[in-house]
Structures are given as C-alpha cells and as structure tokens.
C-alpha cells in the first residue's frame, strides 16, 4: 500500500545551517503523525518541504506516491496545509476566504458553496460566515484555517503548530475535529506541536532535533525505555529536596512539577534510589511524604532527548 506521506532523506540548508538534515519517515493512511521537537528543530521547514513550498537540497517527499516537486499538482490536490502563521486574507470575510481558496483549488462554482457550508458547520463557524477574518478570535482564526485547508477534500492534512496561542478549551475542540476527520473521512495528518499532551494523542510521534529524526514510534513505544525510570517525589521543603535529589549518583535529571519532583534515574536503579534517597533526605531535614515509580510521559522523553541532543552538539 502506498504511504500517505513519505519523506526520504530530506535535506534543506539555509545559509550553512542544516535546517533539515537527512530526514526520513512515513505516514500511513489514517495515521496522525506528531512531529515534536524544540524550537528551531526544523519542524516548520519539514512541513514546507512536504507541501512543496520549499525545494529540498536533496532527497524527496511524496504524497500518496506523487513527488511534491515533480508532480506538484497531483500531490497538492491531496494536501491541506495549515501554516503556523495565520495565512488567510484578513480583509475578506470567512466565506470569501473559503470561496477564494476553493476556486484556487479548481472546485467548480456550483460546488463550493455546499462544501463551504458543510465545512463551516463542521468547524463551528457557520454563524460567522460574513465576518471579516481579521475580526475573529485566535481560536476561530485557526478553525477557519483548518476549514480552508479542508475545502478541497484533501487526503493529507499538514498542520504546523495549529494550536499555538490558542486557549485550552479551543485546543480541545480543535483536536476533536482532527480526530473526527481521521475517523470519518480517512484523512491522514502530520501535525507539528510543542505540546506533549497533544503529541500523546497521535498515532505515532517523531522526535526531531537539529533537523534530524532522533526517535519515532507510538507514544507507548517512545516512552517505553523510560518505564520504571521516572520517580515521583513529594515532600517539603521542595528546594532542599531538589538539591538532595540532584546530588544522587543514579539521578539523571530532576524536574519540578508544582509541589512535587519528577526524577529520571539510570536504568535498573529504581529500587536502589527508593531505598537510599529517603534516608538521605531525612538527614538533610526534608519531610518526605512519598516516593514512587510513575509512568513516563512524552514530556520526560522530550526532556531526555533534548538533553542528549545538546550533549552531542
């Protein structure tokens, strides 16, 4: 079966900086592929390479078997693209924007209106169809962006940080829409995001750093190597507790989460640390309430991989 999206050894350099450095991955039909990584990792550049906005220095990208540079028209009819920045016409109304982009995609005049109505209803903007795009709230703008990306019924959605600067409720809405699209219309999605809770909703995630794919897999696979390696530590005072934890030879990393700490420890050292740390903490005057292993999250993986990537550099 043909992959929905195929990236093969993509390279793109800007003024000697390897923005994308030999990136390869596949997205199968019906998958939501999450692209995560720190700012400047090359997420946006990759998205633009996938939609044909940039020409790669080497390597190639295919959408359902169509090379995005050699067969741009065939490839692009399959793509719906939502750029990171609002990229619609603020001085046109919601409906005018949809009409314009429908016409750009060669949708016949007789068909654009029913499709526009359907899609506005789908994203929940049907009551705002005569409002100028610039007068929409941030979340509504993103929904209009999504509607525009969907107007020509693409089979692949490329979403570049679609929920940046959007409130949590709208983010939730937005994800429900994406999940419905995948379920109902069989759309495949590539979404870049800096939010780990969003990444955990994806079928698979790929972690990029400095233009390279470091690891990929289902959220479960990606976090599996950290199973048993994350401990939660609750106690008081937090600051002294943190100092003690950092000093422990088996602790690789300490993160503060509100009133508690997450410790990442060396593989297989869980029992040792749980035995040793409470004693150490007591001698340092920390009132420890709890220490226990917890399930690793994508956030833990993200932090671990970012640190590794920095060390390599």
């Amino acid at each position: 079966m043909t992959s929905a999206v195929l990236a093969d050894q993509l390279h793109k350099t800007f003024a000697e900086v390897h923005a994308v450095d030999g990136l390869s991955f596949k997205v199968e039909p019906g998958e939501i592929y999450g692209f995560v990584g720190p700012d400047g990792a090359g997420k946006t550049t990759t998205m633009r390479l996938l939609c044909g906005g940039f020409r790669p220095d080497s390597g190639h990208a295919e959408i359902y078997g169509y090379d995005v540079i050699k067969h741009p028209d065939e490839a692009r009819t399959q793509i719906g693209y939502l750029a990171q920045r609002f990229s619609l016409y603020g001085d046109l109304t919601v409906l005018e924007n949809l009409r314009f982009f429908a016409e750009m995609h060669n949708i016949p005049t007789s068909n654009w209106k029913p499709r526009a109505q359907e899609i506005l209803k789908f994203v929940g903007l049907d009551e705002f169809s005569d409002r100028r795009a610039e007068q929409l709230s941030g979340g509504m703008k993103q929904k209009l962006g999504l509607a525009t990306a969907l107007v020509h019924r693409p089979k692949v959605l490329l979403l570049d940080e679609p929920t940046g600067g959007v409130d949590p409720v709208t983010r939730q809405d937005f994800w429900q829409l994406i999940i419905r699209l995948v379920g109902q219309e069989g759309v495949s999605v590539v979404v870049s995001t800096p939010y780990m809770d969003e990444a955990s909703r994806c079928t698979r995630v790929g972690f990029v750093s400095r233009g390279k794919l470091i690891t990929e897999g289902t959220p479960g696979q990606v976090t599996s190597h950290l199973n048993g390696r994350v401990l939660e530590l609750v106690g008081d005072p937090l600051d002294r507790m943190r100092h003690a934890a950092v000093a422990d030879p088996d602790v690789e990393d300490v993160q503060v989460f509100g009133d508690r700490l997450h410790l990442r420890i060396k593989p297989g050292s869980g029992d040792r640390v749980i035995d040793r740390l409470p004693t150490v903490l007591r001698t340092q005057g920390v009132q420890m309430q709890r220490i226990r292993p917890i399930t690793a999250t994508l956030e833990d993986v993200f932090i671990e991989l970012s640190e590794q990537a920095d060390q390599v550099q």
Binding site: R48, C51, G52, G53, F54, R55, P72, D73, R76, T77, I79, G80, Y81, A83, R85, F86, S87, L88, Y89, G90, D91, L92, E96, F100, F101, E103, M104, H105, N106, T109, T148
Partner: protein, 377 residues
C-alpha cells in the same frame, strides 16, 4: 480561454481594493492635487516684479523710458527713491527685486544724440526670477533704444526703412505663451502612471508574502503567471483611470492642447504602463516587506522626476546627468506624450523613443517574470 483562477484572483483583488478605501481615494485624488500644484503654482512666468525707480533726471525722455518698462507688465514700480542708499535697503529687505536708475544727464544726452546709459539692478538670489527679469529688462531696453535711434534719425529727415542692420525675431512654437501647465500636464501623466504602477503593484504582491497568504497559495494549483496577472490587472485599470483624469482636467481646466491622436497616446501609455508594471513586479521579487517595496519604488521615482525631464528640462542638465536620463523610461515617455499632445506629432517623429521604451518594457518584464516564483524561498 476563460481562466477561472485568474478571474478569482482579480475578483479577490478588487474586493480588497474596495475595502482599502483610503488607498483608492488617495490614488484618485493625488493626481488632481499634483496637477493643481505643479500646473499652476510652480510657474516660471515672471510678472509684476516689484521694482524701485531712482530717477535723477525727471526729463520727458526718462518718463518715456519708464513707460516702456511699465507697459511690458514685467515690472511694477512701486517705489520711488532719492538715493542709492534707499534703493539698497528696499532690495535687501526683499520688498523690491529690481531697480531702475536713471542718471541726471539722461534726457540731455538723448536730446543731443549722445549715448546714454541707464542702470538696471536685479536681485539675483532667486535665480529663476532673476534670469527672466534680466532678459526682460534687456529686451525692453533694447527696444526702447532702437525706438530712440529711429526717432532721432527721423527728426533729422533720414530714411528709416532699415532702422537696424540686424533684427532677431524669436518665435516660440507649440507653447507660444510658455504656459507652465502645458509642460507639466503631459509630464504629470507619465509620473502618475509610473508611480501607481510601480508602488501599488509591488506593494500588493509583497503584501501576500508579508502577511503569509502566499503560504496558503503555494499549495494550490495556481500558476505564477495567474497570480501575477490577476493581481496586476485591477491596478492597470486604476492607473489608466488616473491618466485619463489628468488628461481631462489638463485639457479642460488648464487648456492644454491635445493636438495629436488620442489612440496613439493611449497605445503609448499602455507601453509605458507595461514598463511600470515590470518595474513593480521586479521590486516585488526583491522586497520582503511593503516598506522595502516603497523605498525601492521611491528610489526609481525620485531620479525619474528630477532627471527624466519632468520638472527640469534635460537640455539644461550637465552632460553626466543627461547621459543618466537615458536609463529612465520616463524620459522616453515624456518626449512621446509632449510630442503627441503639444506638437500633434505622429509615431514617426519619435520612433527612436518608442523603440527605446519598448526595449525597456520587454527587458524589465522578462527579468521580473524570470525572478517571480510562487515559492517561499
């Protein structure tokens, strides 16, 4: 073939234009303003220059001379003084710009047939005014002198058939009254066409990039040429409208003659329009923001205004600047427009300029199109 994407782009552009009323209103009013400012205020015609009379003679001959100066309308003798000191004060304070000094023995010398001298002082701080006043004063003086000679000869009973051995007759063609508007209106048409096409097209295309809308256009099957032509077309109409506006006001209000063929004028304007659009397009491939586009546009327009013969005649420029003016498409268009409107000339009269303009047009459009890509890099 009817191209629906092209039409959609144009329709979108027109909707955006109508919503951006300020730009449209400015681009319609601006030519009118410029026309009235440059056509009437900035005039080289010197009339009623305030002048001082220092008459030390008070003879009939002195009064005759004064009448000759008064009759010509160039000078108004609003001040009569009794000393060089007073005269100097009036000129220094700027109240008077010129002075006529008639020496005490003027009448006596004229009567006895001896050469008589009068002195004419001109404030040279305003060079344009001074040069015109100078030539006017000289001409009037010469005319009077000839008349005096003739009169004295006649009184001696001699023939006056050929009173002066050489006679120079000057005659101004095409604009005999040397009305500034006649020079300005055709020039303004060119300047306005250039400004609108360059600035507005460049800005409208750069805006797509600046606002990020180009990112969304990129993944559509839209072709570069469709984007280009679709965006430019509404501005072609706006530019033509403005040009006709100047033409109509120029002929009706300023009575600029339209001696040549209107069809030829429109055809030549279309050629010049193409050149301006090419420049605008080219700028849009270089500039990243609308501000950059504006600055680049000014960089093209300002030298054109000063060097292409719009405000100052090319013939009066130093050779280096004259050579530079060949690089400005406006130069050729101004020659063509003035030729058609004022001289009623046909295309054969300025075929070289048409050729130069055509070469410019093709070259800049080709350069711009080759650089115009619908990509993000």
């Amino acid at each position: 073939m009817f191209n629906s994407r092209l039409w959609s782009i144009m329709r979108k552009e027109i909707i955006q234009m109508t919503r951006d009323r300020r730009t449209v209103i400015i681009s319609i009013i601006q030519p009118i303003l410029m026309l009235f400012l440059l056509g009437s205020a900035a005039t080289n015609n010197v009339r009623n220059v305030p002048a001082v009379l220092f008459d030390q003679d008070h003879s009939q001959a002195a009064r005759d001379l004064l009448d000759a100066y008064r009759a010509a309308d160039y000078f108004t003798f609003s001040y009569q003084v009794q000393s060089v000191q007073e005269m100097r004060q009036l000129i220094e304070s700027g109240e008077a710009k010129a002075a006529l000094i008639i020496p005490p023995d003027y009448g006596q010398r004229i009567a006895s047939g001896e050469p008589a001298q009068v002195e004419f002082v001109i404030d040279g701080s305003d060079a344009t005014l001074a040069s015109t006043a100078l030539s006017a004063a000289t001409l009037i003086g010469q005319a009077k002198s000839t008349a005096v000679v003739r009169a004295s000869l006649e009184s001696h009973g001699q023939s006056v058939a050929s009173s002066s051995p050489i006679e120079v007759r000057t005659q101004v063609w095409y604009n005999p009254d040397m009305v500034q508007a006649f020079f300005m209106v055709p020039g303004l048409m060119g300047t306005i066409l250039l400004q609108l096409t360059v600035t507005l097209t460049a800005a409208s295309i750069v805006r797509e990039r600046e606002r990020g809308t180009i990112e969304q256009l990129i993944i559509t099957p839209l072709r570069s040429w469709e984007l280009m032509i679709g965006k430019i077309t509404p501005y072609i109409f706006l530019a033509f409208f403005d040009m006709l506006e100047v033409l109509v006001i120029g002929t009706l209000v300023f009575h600029v003659p339209m001696n040549g063929s209107l069809g030829l004028l429109l055809l030549m304007s279309a050629l010049f329009l193409g050149t301006g659009l090419g420049i605008g397009l080219f700028i849009s491939t270089v500039a990243k923001t609308q501000q950059e586009a504006q600055v680049l546009g000014m960089l093209i327009q300002l030298p054109s205004m000063f060097l292409a013969g719009f405000l100052f005649p090319i013939a009066a420029m130093p050779p280096f600047l004259q050579a530079l003016s060949y690089l400005m498409p406006l130069r050729y268009f101004l020659i063509i427009v003035r030729g058609i409107m004022l001289k009623g000339a046909g295309i054969e009269a300025f075929s070289g300029d048409v050729l130069a303009l055509a070469i410019f047009c093709v070259a800049i459009v080709a350069l711009a199109v080759s650089r115009f890509h619908k990509t993000l890099d």
